[in-house]
């Protein structure tokens, strides 16, 4: 069964159509990088998968469950997909460990001990076990984003979404975050990634989507698309990003 299935999915903000009749199927294990100019609907697409935005027309199925079906429980659906934000959005009143524990504790209903084990394991995985007791404001941007990745993984999602995870970071801090993401991709995690990191797309992605003006214009193999840009628009975009 496909992890994500969009059928004529449409999202509007007032008169402005942000996603226009999108058709898309993403299978388990795919690492999909989504590129496109700002305002082309990339972030909104991710937010619709997590029901942070409601779609207006068509349908969107996550792991077979429709976001439009009344019987679909919003919270159950959100547990299927972990989300990492551009601005990290760590809870400032909690330590790194408490941030990671919150999902397992509250959304999964695990005991404090079990949530703590999960947090320790995931902080180890993102290389921050020695920062577990630090508050976000004492961590660098790269460290904060790695904690945010651990936090999203802690609810044990089947799918991970990244909304420009490195855009708010200084160039020298991007590598550590991309490395964690690369590790996830290698382990077979299904991933949807909105990013401008062309190199990451080339190395780790199995599929590249180019969005423009509320549509998915191109959908193909990253290497092929970079070597033979299928349109003038995409060629322009690549030139712009590489500068």
């Amino acid at each position: 069964m496909s992890m994500i299935e969009c059928r004529q999915m449409t999202k509007r903000f007032g008169d402005h159509t942000v996603l226009d009749r999108i058709d898309l199927t993403v299978d388990a294990g795919e690492v999909v990088v989504i590129v496109g100019a700002s305002g082309s609907g990339k972030s909104t697409f991710l937010r619709c998968v997590n029901m942070l935005e409601r779609i207006d027309e068509g349908d969107l199925l996550v792991d077979g469950k429709s976001v439009r079906q009344r019987s679909t429980n919003v919270r159950t659906l959100r547990l299927e997909a972990g989300m990492v934000f551009q601005q990290f959005n760590l809870f400032p009143h909690m330590t790194a460990r408490q941030n990671v524990m919150l999902g397992p504790r509250k959304a999964r209903g695990y005991s404090r001990a079990k949530a703590g084990e999960i947090a320790d394991r995931l902080l180890e995985r993102v290389g921050l076990v020695d920062r577990a007791g630090y508050f976000p404001d004492a961590l660098s941007g790269g460290q904060q984003q790695r904690v945010a990745i651990a936090r999203a993984l802690a609810i044990n999602p089947k799918l991970m979404m990244f909304d420009e995870p490195t855009s708010a970071l200084d160039p020298e801090l991007r590598g550590e975050v991309l490395e964690v993401m690369r590790g996830l991709a290698e382990e077979g995690m299904t991933m949807l990634i909105v990013t401008h990191e062309v190199h990451f797309a080339l190395e780790a992605a199995t599929r590249l989507l180019f969005m423009d003006d509320a549509h998915i214009v191109h959908d193909g193999d990253p290497r092929e698309m970079f070597e033979n840009p299928p349109s003038e628009r995409f060629r322009d975009f690549l030139r712009h990003v590489r500068e």
Binding site: R75, L79, F85, H93
Partner: protein
């Protein structure tokens, strides 16, 4: 000008009785104000339909009228209105003062809480929702704690204002600190000594309150 320490020592017991009353009125006032203000502030921040208009009127009326008028209205006008509706309503000046201060502080605290809740970054709420937390959990575990920490400094400010505002209840004759001072001056004619002592006692009380708030601030890591 003759300044007499003896007058001061003689007036202290009576003034401390007034101070005790001031402390009770203030505690009841800010306690009640916190309950009213927290509930109404949340209702406004989350735009509860209907209720937001009621609260808009409440906050406007309280902020738009002097507390002296509010005290007079509650103590003298409300029983007459009740009588007009055929109910005998009697309460002490102390009750009137406490209720008045709670209603007054409540309106300002409403705005403090509303502002603090709205100041919580939308991205944090999205992050909590994305983790699968319910709206109630988002409020209890993320928005609530952050908003509460942010509201501590302005709340401290409001508590001090309320304590000092209680002096205005002299107009309904509660017998709190300011009124005790006024009585003593009338009896002794010693304005300098008495009003200085009254001022020092108020200062001691507001300073204590400020220190308590500072301590809370320190322990909470204001964000």
């Amino acid at each position: 000008m003759n300044f007499s320490w003896d007058v001061i020592w003689a007036s202290v017991p009576q003034l401390l009785q007034g101070a005790e009353l001031t402390a009770y009125i203030t505690l009841l006032g800010i306690g009640g104000g916190m309950v009213i203000g927290t509930l109404s502030g949340l209702a406004l921040a989350f735009q509860v339909p209907l209720l937001r208009w009621v609260l808009f009127v409440y906050v406007s009326v309280i902020r738009g009228t002097p507390i002296v008028v509010q005290a007079m209205f509650i103590y003298f006008a409300v029983p007459m209105i009740a009588l007009g509706f055929g109910t005998q309503l009697t309460f002490s000046a102390f009750t009137a003062a406490s209720v008045c201060l709670a209603l007054n502080a409540g309106a300002y605290i409403t705005e403090i809480i509303r502002g603090a809740v709205l100041s919580v970054n939308r991205g944090l709420i999205d992050a909590a929702l994305a983790l699968g937390l319910s709206r109630r959990q988002v409020l209890a575990d993320v928005v609530g704690p952050i908003a509460f920490r942010r509201s501590v400094p302005p709340l401290g400010n409001q508590f001090i204002i309320s304590l000092k505002d209680s002096a205005l209840f002299i107009v309904i004759g509660v017998g709190e600190l300011a009124q005790q001072g006024d009585r003593l001056v009338a009896e002794t004619g010693r304005a300098i000594e008495v009003w200085t002592t009254v001022g020092v006692i108020y200062l001691a009380m507001t300073f204590t309150l400020a220190m308590i708030m500072k301590l809370i601030e320190k322990r909470m890591r204001i964000l």
